[in-house]
Amino acid sequence: MSGYATQIAAILIINVVAAYAAYMPLACGQLNLGIAGFMAIGAYTSAVLNGHGVPLGLSILGGACASTIAGLAVSIPVLRARGIYLTIATLAFSEVVAAVLLNVNALGGASGFVVNDHMSVAPMAAVMVLVLAAVVWLSSTRFGLCMTAVRNDGRGTAVFGVKVRRVEIAALTIGAGFAGVAGALYAHHFNYLEAQHFNVLLSTYAVLYALLGGLQTPVGPLIGALVFTLVPEFLRSTDQWRYVGFGVCIILLMLLRPEGLLTRRLIHDLPFRRRLA
């Protein structure tokens, strides 16, 4: 692979994992705009552990654990708020994390933090497949069914005995764990961290991938991240029109496929349509 292709592949993998971090809470109707904050926690934790001689794999695991714990700690008070207030609270959390990292000199502060061990694309892809498999498996369980039910009708789902708040907390926490993984992968591939990278735009893109790919199936965010990481690259030849083209693509998609690229109906219909025709 050329250097360019390797970089794109690495970014793609990180984006896919981040998309699943956004997907988990979205799948039960919660918009988390603090993905970047959880990514930063994962990235810096993994980098620090690695800097103290912890092996690469364990460091990444440590980063994921740290962001999971942060996710749990944040979601319990934050999920008392609903809808737009929840989103604002997660956004604020993310900004606090970035501000703290920017000011802690032990973590490099504004001059950034150098990460020891490098991770190449192949093991990164393996980690991505693990995350994907975990989400596909979760979606096939009762918990997955509950997430969709809560997204449809939160209050109504309580009637069946579902503990709605616990489902929401679990989804946001698992998503935060995935964000930590994405952050750790970023840290070890690029070997350099700066707090400013983990901003709102990063969270927004993660949410965008999940929404545009579609929330109805666990494969949606993969498709979303794939398409919307690669489209801007293909549009690179159009130079300054690149982001105009990208914007047009997003608007067209919202018009034509408001439920996302990949819907259950699409999957359901494909084999049957052929047989009937």
Binding site: N152, A158, V159, F160, G161
Partner: protein, 243 residues
């Protein structure tokens, strides 16, 4: 006695939706709660199900359940058919039914699913379609089937005939009758007074959150009190209509 509600009150802020209501449902019987819009019928059912906070004492099958979560109440044998059906539109018909069995851990869920499809052949044919493809009447059947999947001893039904065609209204009441014949106790909240009184053995009338009247349904059908409690003091208007 299967369900006993004593001095139940529900308030939203300063507004009292249900005020000091006591009622009971006998094992294997149908009781109905009648009342106009805003009488507090839905709040009453939600409080019994545990999805709305309430003051008062609730006893179910010999246990005091007042502080219990909805989950525990479902496990104990209560299920609610909510107002407006509230089908989960992104889930398939089969998944909707399975959500009803959420609290169960036994191995007979699959066979119960089969029984629901026998009971509702319309649903069987479209079990893998999303809930959104169903008509209002079919959605009501699905909502009832979903509640039955919990294997309840007491079925709470919130206006099951609302917005349905006369044909489906009759079907819903036939179903209520046959479910009750098989031993299921039902607490039925309705605006369709005539049908509800025919289906139930005991009737309660709510007016602005308070119990205005309770009696044997045969008595209620004959009495003028019902019309007065139900329609306020507008009985003259009703007489004029008939004249």
């Amino acid at each position: 006695m299967l369900l006993e509600v004593r001095n139940l009150s529900v308030s939203y802020g300063k507004v009292a939706a249900v005020n000091d209501v006591s009622l009971h449902v006998e094992e294997g019987s149908v009781a109905t709660v009648l009342g106009a819009n805003g009488a507090g019928k839905t709040s009453l059912l939600n409080a019994i199900m545990g999805v709305t906070r309430a003051q008062g004492t609730l006893r179910f099958a010999g246990q005091t359940i007042s502080g219990w979560s909805s989950a525990r109440r479902v496990s104990a044998g209560m299920a609610l058919v909510p107002e407006g059906r509230r089908i989960l539109l992104s889930l398939t018909i089969e998944e909707n039914l399975l959500m009803g069995a959420y609290q169960r851990r036994d191995r007979e869920i699959a066979s119960d699913l089969g029984r629901m499809y026998e009971l509702f052949p319309n649903l069987a044919r479209r079990r893998n379609d999303p809930g959104s493809v169903l008509s209002g009447g079919e959605q009501q059947m699905l909502a009832i089937g979903r509640a039955l999947m919990a294997r309840p001893r007491l079925l709470l039904m919130d206006e099951p005939s609302l917005g349905l065609s006369p044909l489906f209204v009759r079907e819903v009441f036939n179903l209520i009758h046959s479910l009750n014949s098989s031993g299921l106790a039902i607490l039925l909240v309705e605006q369709n007074t005539r049908m509800a009184l025919q289906a139930a053995q005991w009737g309660y009338v709510l007016k602005l959150g308070r119990l205005a009247l309770e009696a044997d349904t045969e008595e209620l059908m004959k009495s003028d009190d019902l019309a007065r409690a139900y329609l306020g003091d507008n009985t003259t208007a009703k007489h004029r209509l008939h004249a």
